[in-house]
Symmetry: C2
Subunit: 149 residues, 2 copies
């Protein structure tokens, strides 16, 4: 499977969030080409500000690999992570991040803040962006469109 | 009690972290002048990158108040929060942040990133800095000094 294939699975996760009336963002973590975590945003359901798709995925992957350091892992997420998740990604030592749509308003990787490029963390994160960008973006647009009457 | 008193208690929390060989950072959350959460960094013990003092305090406070929105709360923390914690503070809608020492390397509130001043979150965080700055800073310096031989 390639980046586009994994992003398609992350989009399926985002659609689950959409169906649950959550901001539609989905994530997948792979390790050695095996999917070790899949998740979607569950903040509203769990009444928990931390339950972004990325954080839930990092927790699942850490549990499975029995380590807090996710070296060798790739995180796929449909929207550019916020600063909280960007910081968590750097702390987790994930090697590679692939995201779909950019978040100019609050993107923490490269758009608004460049936390994903911060060398002071002694960690180099490889970033690929824009994979299935339109589909990822459209989901979020549809979500908000349905909120406005 | 005033900001200095609460920071003194946050420093006591940081000392607990120090005794446990964790980066010495401590936090307190108050609501209507009542301490509703106290915590210290437990990343190493819990093998969990999320267990920064601020995040543990936010989780405790949210549990006690039975809400993910910490409106009316003040967070005291000995060192300026990192980007992950700064993002979490903004998501939690904490009203007021009081921190001790600045973190020029990786401070997420005002030093390196100005996440605490980001108006795109539709949340205004009131920030007070430099309370008991030297004591807070010295604890971290001592911790690292003892790590280098």
């Amino acid at each position: 499977m390639n980046d586009k294939d994994y992003m398609t699975l992350a989009i399926q996760e985002a659609k689950k969030a959409y169906m649950n009336n959550e901001m539609p963002i989905g994530a997948i973590i792979t390790y050695k080409d095996i999917i070790i975590a899949n998740s979607y945003n569950e903040c509203e359901k769990n009444k928990n500000i931390f339950d972004h798709a990325e954080i839930l995925a990092i927790k699942k992957a850490s549990k499975l690999l029995n380590t807090s350091r996710l070296t060798g892992c790739t995180l796929y997420v449909t929207i550019e992570p916020c600063p909280m998740c960007a910081g968590a990604i750097m702390h987790s030592r994930i090697d590679r991040l692939v995201f779909g749509a950019f978040n100019d308003l609050y993107g923490g990787i490269i758009s608004k803040y460049k936390i994903g490029k911060d060398s002071s963390m002694n960690h180099t994160l490889s970033v690929v962006s824009g994979i299935e960008e339109n589909t990822c973006k459209q989901l979020v647009c549809d979500f908000f469109k349905n909120k406005i009457r």
